[in-house]
């Protein structure tokens, strides 16, 4: 079974070395690719020095475009699973083998690492937790599925979802929307408790100022994803 880890990275030179070292130590059965999203620092050089496979995007596409690049890579190289893992050191690589086992046992299309099942580790700031709560409620309303951590960037996708995401993936703030798209396609999504950390370096792409826009945009996009074209397509067998 071929497993890929997609690491979207934008100006993560300070933290990426630790992420790669952790992956090699705690998830040796996983290949990984760093998608350098037009960084202006030495992210790409650091990764190459460490012998990592790097996809250098010539311009900054944003998280959605960077992650989709990883899914396209996974599809073209025949990977069975693709796991999105942030380049800022928030996600523990040690969770990957358990997520893979969960994907297999549950016969799921996606396993999402959730901070809020056992409520251990970094739980995000209170205002964001309110937003995440609302998005979980919105997912429940739109799809009937209960998910606790809809904004989690730690997620493992099956081959069927790799194909779907390589074809079409939301652009900005993609996590909640991609979950609704996957559910609308008939994918089975399960959550697994994962203890996350606060970012080791760099800044989050979502500032407090952008939060309101984020909520409005994401909520509307999720509703569109549920009721528009994705519903008709269905996942490949």
């Amino acid at each position: 079974m071929k497993n890929l880890v997609i690491i979207p990275a934008w100006n993560e030179a300070e933290s990426i070395e630790g992420v790669i070292a952790e992956l090699r130590r705690d998830a040796p059965g996983f290949d990984f690719v760093v998608v350098n999203d037009g960084s202006t620092d030495s992210t790409s050089n650091v990764c190459r020095r460490l012998g990592a496979t790097v996809l250098d995007l010539p311009v900054n596409l944003g998280i959605g475009g960077a992650v989709q690049t990883g899914y396209i890579y996974a599809l073209r190289h025949g990977y069975d699973t693709a796991t999105q893992l942030d380049g800022d050191g928030q996600h523990p690589a040690s969770a990957l083998p358990a997520m893979l086992e969960c994907l297999r046992v549950e016969d799921a299309d996606m396993v999402v690492g959730s901070r809020f099942i056992e409520k251990k580790g970094f739980q995000s700031v209170p205002l964001r937790r309110v937003g995440i709560c609302f998005l979980s409620f919105w997912v429940k309303v739109l799809t009937g599925t209960t998910l606790t951590d809809t904004t989690s960037g730690l997620r493992m996708a099956s081959r069927r979802l790799i194909r779907a995401f390589a074809e079409e993936y939301p652009n900005d703030y993609p996590e909640p929307e991609s979950v609704v798209r996957a559910l609308s396609l008939g994918a089975k999504i399960v959550e697994m408790s994962v203890e996350m950390r606060s970012r080791s370096a760099g800044q989050s792409s979502i500032s407090m100022r952008k939060s309101l826009y984020y909520m409005v945009k994401v909520s509307a996009a999720m509703a569109m994803a549920r009721f528009y074209n994705w519903k008709k397509k269905g996942l490949d067998k």
Partner: protein
Amino acid sequence: MISTRIQVLIVVVMCFCVASIFRLLAQGKMDYKLGIAWTFVFGSVAALALAPRTLARMAAFLGIASPMNMLFFFGFLFSTGILFSLSRRTSRLQAQVQRLAQETAMRHEMSNDVQENKLQLR
């Protein structure tokens, strides 16, 4: 009715705009589709300004109190149409740029792989 002064002003400004469009088209700095659309808008506004009776009749038909407002309404309507079309084109271009950037990254990585393999073979 509209005064002669404002008629002249509108026609002069519209002529200047059309001339600018033609210059951009000649220099290859504007797409013909957009150039034609803008020329149509400017030309229509100028034509309506030169035909105040038609303008007044249209304003009365649509229930707009002043012919001048009718003129602005037309300009606004046409401009909105062009802006909407531009929004569509920008979104399409964004998707195309994204695909292009992704393909560039893939090909760059592939060529790096090939070069490394060549070096290993030597």
